[in-house]
């Protein structure tokens, strides 16, 4: 049912996504990428993975924020034009995950930039990530 909602919304606008890894183990990243591949295929809804913040509507962020990555994620956020939204994918992006209290790690993404949707999991399945995007779109269309 959520796929139908997504298709409806997509007729109005195709969100372009920038995937940002702030210091992850890669498991969330490969599930994000798997969402693009034939089994899940979000491209049919016009959702495209873009390489540059200038073209992005949604920032999909994975990883526990390391000290080095914090500056970078802030810069990427500033470079992304409004309106912009942030989805934190995975336990690390939400609150540091298993790396909480490690000396290299600051914590979740919302310590650095505002987050609109949290997708829990370690890692969340591609289905869950897509559902997170749907949730964001619902939130946005309701809010206007």
């Amino acid at each position: 049912m959520s796929l139908l909602k997504l298709a409806t919304w997509a007729r109005l606008k195709s969100p372009w996504i920038l995937h940002v890894n702030t210091g992850a183990c890669n498991s969330c990243d490969i599930e994000v990428l798997a969402a693009l591949t034939p089994r899940f295929d979000v491209e049919r809804f016009g959702i495209l993975l873009k390489p540059s913040p200038r073209h992005a509507d949604i920032l999909v962020v994975t990883g526990a924020v390391t000290r080095q990555a914090a500056e970078r994620i802030k810069r990427v956020y500033e470079q992304t034009p409004d309106p912009k939204f942030v989805i934190a994918v995975g336990a690390c992006a939400i609150g540091g995950g298993v790396f909480q209290n490690c000396y290299g790690v600051l914590g979740g993404v919302d310590k650095i930039i505002p987050v609109d949707v949290y997708v829990p999991g370690c890692p969340p399945r591609p289905d869950a990530i897509i559902y997170g995007v749907v949730k964001l779109i619902e939130k946005v269309t309701k809010g206007g």
Binding site: R67, Q68, Y103, G104
Partner: protein, 149 residues
Amino acid sequence: MVEEYPKLAETLKNELKEALLGYEHIAEKKAFVALVDRGSLIKALELLNKISGGEVHLTSINGADLGEREMELTYFIWLLPQKIRVLVKTRLPKDDLKIQSAVKVMPAAILYEREVHEMLGVVFEGHPRLERLFLPEDWPEGVYPLRRD
């Protein structure tokens, strides 16, 4: 191969003499472990190079602060022709954490020595570039994350 262990033990005993502080073949660990005096560590590595005809693989150099007066370094080595896993260990007193760099004998040591230096404060004399590898630039000097003190 287990059959090669006695020959390896012989060679090390003959060449290193008192610098070879102890050795054993640990079947359960499938490894030949030798403890050498730190001044002869390089000589031991050169020997392994010779025994294997240069067909030697340096897997890793591990440093460990076990909470004692000394720090332990373990060189994990694989001899290709003999198919023996060798662990060469040496101990460094904590108030004098210095040892000769192995880079000339085994070039693969280049990053492992940097890491042991960065994490535990061991100085590898003769290393071409003993700088930070993993820690961020703003990490304070003299603070070694894997030291117990």
